[in-house]
């Protein structure tokens, strides 16, 4: 192992640089295919989790009732993923026959979804709860109805925490989705499990590196989305352009026009 370090890095790079590993061969699927699968497992679970957790978190935060659901969801996270996956496969897969992989995909998605719900739920709930009471009060005081307060005031102001919940869920799913390969499915976990089984360490480590790179890229993407969605008034990222425009006096009328065009706020 003394000489293993540098040589291993070289070997991993060689493995990653081999075009046949990306394309795959007649008998094995390549990185591209497994990456697509990995992304689809994660994407589907994340989407379902958001559809459940965001509305639920908004509702709990808005009404101030059901806060215990958030702690309950957090408790679910401590269930070991692989154990739960095996349990669900045992329960679900006998209901599917033939060439379909549904018996494995459904348990995998359930496990991933259960992992993604708690951080998104907690983020959304905390986001709504942290909205300045004076702001909420003003919203009602101006004659907004409950739903309008939620969608026009509480949601836009809680967005940073909602999205940061989604980001941490996404990171966790990308790492955990490797277990799909534990039940015989694809994804980047394939390289890790196969590498381990075949004592092909460059392949195993290469798989790990790919998972880390994917996590990094997705996080960057979500950060970019966050910048677009969150109002500068909330994030504190006031644009330089607006600063300059503000500085120049006597442009009042062109400003009206500019204001009319920029009708993006919720």
């Amino acid at each position: 192992m003394a000489t293993g370090g540098p040589r291993m890095i070289g070997n991993v790079i060689t493995w990653l640089n081999d075009p046949s590993h990306w394309r795959g061969t007649g008998t094995t699927d390549g990185i591209v295919t497994q990456l697509e699968r990995h992304i689809s497992y994660v994407g589907i679970a994340l989407l379902i989790a958001m559809l459940i957790a965001v509305p639920l978190g908004l509702l709990i935060g808005h009404t101030g009732r059901g806060g215990s659901a958030v702690s309950l969801a957090n408790a679910i996270r401590s269930i070991p993923s692989i154990g739960l996956l095996i349990l669900l496969v045992v329960i679900i897969s006998p209901h599917f026959h033939g060439r379909t992989q549904a018996g494995f995909i459904i348990p995998t998605e359930i496990v991933l979804m259960l992992l993604a719900v708690p951080p998104i739920l907690a983020g959304t709930y905390a986001g709504v709860e942290n909205v300045d009471p004076a702001v909420r009060d003003a919203a009602y005081g101006m004659g907004m109805k409950g739903g309008q307060v939620l969608l026009k005031v509480e949601l836009p102001n809680s967005l940073p925490l909602v999205i940061s919940g989604v980001r941490s869920a996404a990171l966790q799913l990308i790492a955990t989705a490797t277990i799909a390969s534990f039940v015989p499915l694809g994804g980047l976990g394939r390289f890790i499990y196969d590498g381990l089984a075949q004592r092909d360490f460059p392949q195993m480590i290469g798989g790990g590196v790919l998972v880390a790179l994917l996590a990094l890229l997705v996080d960057l993407l979500l950060a970019a989305i966050q910048r677009i969605l969150v109002s500068p008034g909330v994030s504190g990222r006031f644009s330089k352009r607006a600063d300059r425009r503000r500085g120049a006096a006597g442009e009042a009328d062109s400003r009206v026009a500019a204001v009319d065009e920029a009708g993006v706020t919720v």
Binding site: D132, A134, V135, D137, A138, A139, Y140, G141, M142, G143, M144, K145, Q148, V153, P156, N157, S231, P232, G233, V234, G236, F238, A242, R245, R246, A248, A249, E251, A252, R255, V256, A258, V259, D260, A262, G263, T265, V266
Partner: protein, 391 residues
């Protein structure tokens, strides 16, 4: 018109915040709720737009019982300004202001251009429109809060300590602008403050509340200063009220005598030729300040030589200003000017005091002892009130 009809608010924990309140806030006027902390001002105010529901009694808006109007519709017709503005952090200033018109279905373009006009009315440059609340100072935010409450042109405005979170200088500006705006708009306003000076400055009528939610007195500022209904109100209205009450006594023909002057830039006369203090004026007879003849004799009258401590009394203005002009003048002669700030002459302190004595107002009605002591502070006035008992 807003009418409280035997309104009581008891919170679930048993606190009685407002107790059998009967009160009318007149149309087009500013009614101020004032009182010590916890006396139920905010609770009373928020029952008007039903942010808080009364436990008992009813509140009427003109001839409608507010409890029969859907809350969101009621609130859209009532402007609401709170202490820290409560602006929406995620919206630009112009969109904050346009909130209620947009809720009411005004199209976005019109709502925005109206909002821009409103920003100007409350004294904000249009350049602020695209900023976010976090980019504004407290005073600026408060102006936006007022603009936002005015945006749908509601007949009624509720304001809960809107100017209390800004420094005294800005507060004074905001108050002056607010009064100017109200002169134009003539809204029916209920204004909450714990600051009696603010109440006296802004209110057409003042409702003094005492802890426990009782109405202690409802009166005009002048009446409140002159005839506090009981010891609590007298204590709350505070010191100097005899003097401050003179601020409401206006329109008097101030006695004045010709006052020797020297023009700026001229040479000051020798000490033997003039009294100790000489008034300096500019080319258009606007008083500039006093010079001390002994120290300046023979020198050219310049800015540096001026003593500027004296205030001016405007002919037809308040007796308070007249008295102050005398008291603040180094010569003891109060400078009287016309509306264009041109010198009319000077008045002696005892002449102004004589005028105060002849004043048929509350102080005068109490007889010579009460009035003559106007400048000596409150003891005389309080004594008079105590003798009279509740008015």
């Amino acid at each position: 018109m807003i009418r409280f009809d035997n309104v009581t608010k008891r919170y679930p924990d048993g606190t009685v915040a407002v107790d059998s309140l009967d009160l009318t806030a007149e149309t087009g006027k500013i009614t101020v709720f004032v009182g010590p902390s916890g006396c139920g001002k905010t609770t009373s105010l928020r029952m008007i737009n039903r942010m808080i529901e009364p436990t008992q009694g009813s509140i009427w808006l003109d001839d409608r019982d507010t409890s029969t109007i859907a809350t969101h519709e009621l609130r859209r017709r009532i402007g609401y300004v709170i202490q820290h503005a409560g602006l929406f952090p995620h919206r630009t200033i112009v969109d904050n202001v346009a909130t209620v018109p947009l809720l009411l279905g005004t199209d976005r373009k019109k709502a925005r251009s109206d909002a821009m006009d409103l920003l100007e009315r409350v004294g904000l440059d249009r350049g602020f429109a695209k900023r976010y609340p976090a980019q504004l100072s407290g005073g600026q935010q408060q102006r936006v809060g007022v603009a936002r409450a005015l945006a749908a042109d509601p007949p009624v405005m509720l304001m809960d300590e809107p100017f209390s979170a800004v420094d005294p200088v800005v507060r004074e500006q905001l108050q002056d602008e607010f009064l100017r705006l109200q002169d134009d708009l003539g809204k029916t306003i209920v204004f909450v403050t714990h600051d009696i000076d603010e109440a006296i400055k802004l209110g057409d009528r003042i409702a003094v509340l005492r802890v426990g939610g009782h109405l202690a007195q409802l009166a005009t500022p002048a009446d409140l200063l002159a005839r506090p209904a009981d010891a609590f109100v007298a204590g709350f209205v505070g010191r100097d009220r005899g003097y401050r009450a003179l601020g409401f006594s206006e329109g008097h023909e101030l006695p004045h005598h010709e006052e020797p002057t020297v023009r700026m830039g001229e040479t000051a006369p020798a000490a033997s030729e003039a009294a100790e203090w000489l008034l300096a004026v500019d080319g258009e007879a606007h008083p500039q300040g006093w010079i001390n003849v002994e120290q300046t004799a023979g020198r050219e009258v310049t800015e540096e030589l001026l003593y500027r401590g004296g205030t001016l009394a405007t002919q037809g203005g308040s007796l308070r200003a007249a008295l102050d002009a005398c008291l603040s003048s180094p010569s003891g002669r109060g400078v009287v000017v016309d509306e264009n700030h041109r010198l009319l002459g000077s008045a002696q302190l005892d002449e102004v005091v004589q005028l105060i004595k002849s004043e048929p107002g509350p102080a005068g009605a109490d007889g010579d002892t009460g009035t003559g002591t106007g400048t000596q502070g409150t003891s005389g006035a309080t004594a008079a009130v105590l003798q009279k008992g509740p008015a």
